[in-house]
Symmetry: C2
Subunit: 287 residues, 2 copies
């Protein structure tokens, strides 16, 4: 199965950004599955808390229609990441998956971060659709979003529900003020935790992150330098492709969907889980 990872910048407006996205999709001919990064239509607006950014969610239905048509024209399965207005005052960070002109399903980001420069709890209501894989013509997709990638629970549940591949649209980057050592640790941790989900669950994994520097428009912080490094790995966590930290680029990767069975047959972790001893996982803390 051929998949394309589209790693790009924000180009100053929704129109210019989408134009670039379409250009990169067109460069990905042959890909049956195309993954876009988190909130790919616009800036990463969560750097400050400002009610005017809720306007970016109002065209959710139009956005869906637009990307549905793109998936039909290109005859692809397309993973998008949109800002959803569900009702006034009720918004989600929502991945919508299209399959050659139909809506295959959607996933509302379950784990919502909130730390300086990433004020997502202001914008996004935590998802209420659970961790449900989405069936498409290229397989059953375990689509998760950004902060979810730090939670082994999310990947595990997708796998236990039959996902055949894990997919993470994301938006993560560095603060220029941090030391080089801290930057290295953060990037390396981000790569490592995601590869570990592939390993623990015997699944291939695709992660697509944005690039470019985006200023904090509120002036409180300087801004975020999104670190790219979009990558794909196989079910032993082995790298298949990995992009750089500032290139704007589409890359196609060939995923062998049969390898999961081979790997799980020699590393049968699902056989040996001690489910009767895991109750503590349903608690906030076990003190």
């Amino acid at each position: 199965m051929k998949a394309a990872l589209i790693q790009q910048k924000y180009h100053g407006s929704k129109e210019a950004t989408i134009k670039k996205t379409l250009e990169l999709i067109d460069k990905s001919q042959g890909a049956e599955l195309v993954i876009l990064q988190e909130l790919h239509q616009g800036p990463y607006f969560c750097q400050s808390e400002d009610t005017r950014y809720f306007d970016l969610a109002k065209d959710f239905e139009l956005d869906i229609d637009f990307w549905r048509k793109i998936s039909k024209e290109r005859q692809i399965v397309l993973v998008t990441s949109l800002f959803e207005q569900r009702a006034p005052g009720l918004y989600h960070n929502t991945a919508v998956v299209f399959d050659k002109g139909t809506i295959a399903g959607k996933y509302r980001k379950m784990h919502i971060p909130d730390d300086p420069g990433f004020y997502e709890k202001f914008y996004f209501t935590p998802g209420d659709l659970g961790f449900e894989p989405i069936d498409t013509s290229v397989g059953r997709l375990g689509v998760l979003v950004c902060w979810d990638q730090w939670f082994p629970e999310a990947a595990r549940i997708m796998a236990l529900r039959g996902a055949q591949i894990l997919i993470y649209p994301t938006a993560i980057g560095w603060f220029d003020e941090d030391s080089d050592e801290e930057k290295t640790r953060q990037l390396d941790a981000w790569i490592t935790i995601q590869r570990s989900h592939a390993i623990a669950n015997g699944l291939p994994l695709l992660s697509v992150n944005r690039v470019g520097f985006e200023k904090d428009e509120s002036g409180c912080l300087n801004g975020i330098r999104f670190w790219g490094n979009s990558f794909a790995c196989g079910p032993q966590g082995e790298f298949l492709v990995r992009l750089g930290s500032d290139e704007e680029r589409a890359i196609i990767v060939d995923i062998d969907m049969e390898r999961t069975k081979e790997v799980r047959d020699i590393w049968p972790f699902f056989r040996d889980r001690r489910v009767e001893a895991y109750e503590c996982l349903l608690k906030r803390y076990c003190d």
Copy 2:
């Protein structure tokens, strides 16, 4: 906190192997915590299924007394990995932790593997003590054993129960018949999944593996080349030390036990877990 990782070979007999262990402990002066590898008193006997190996478990109480005395003499916290005869026909793979002459606690390996050359389900009854950290004078230790390392659930529960460090005595290696690519993938996966537990839980982690080639005495398979690579990493998964794949050696590492709070305060994963949506984790499979 200074910890020593003792990576060694099997020396042909229990006596010779323990002599080498003590020599390496003596070379670790200054370490407050000493970690031995899985089943460090003998060979990795699980390469074949043979009832005579159950005899190796009969001196469990004497073994405990021996290592308790060592921990007292050296004034150390000592993590051992012993073959426990609990009753005739009932055996466990048990980590016993000593604290300067007292038994601090024990952990019976919960996840038991079984694949060619690693026939552990024949020998070890799955642990029935759960995932309980062990309190010692150097901190609350989340001791897990070998195969446990592939299960994010085990590390998470230890962390939710207040473990301050994750510790894995282990015995894993290559088959010479495997390709170099497969060997690289396996070693890399083993390192990656363990680093991911440090990252997901914001905890330092110590992993101690054996080295050396051990023949399959049954003659069915050739044997296992244990790959060493014992390592320590910090709460962002960053390497602190890492040993080679064939050196027999003790290495001391300085663990900053205060870094967990710093790292968790910027990456507050425990705050954001969606515990109400995790029920599927308690099932074998969610079909």
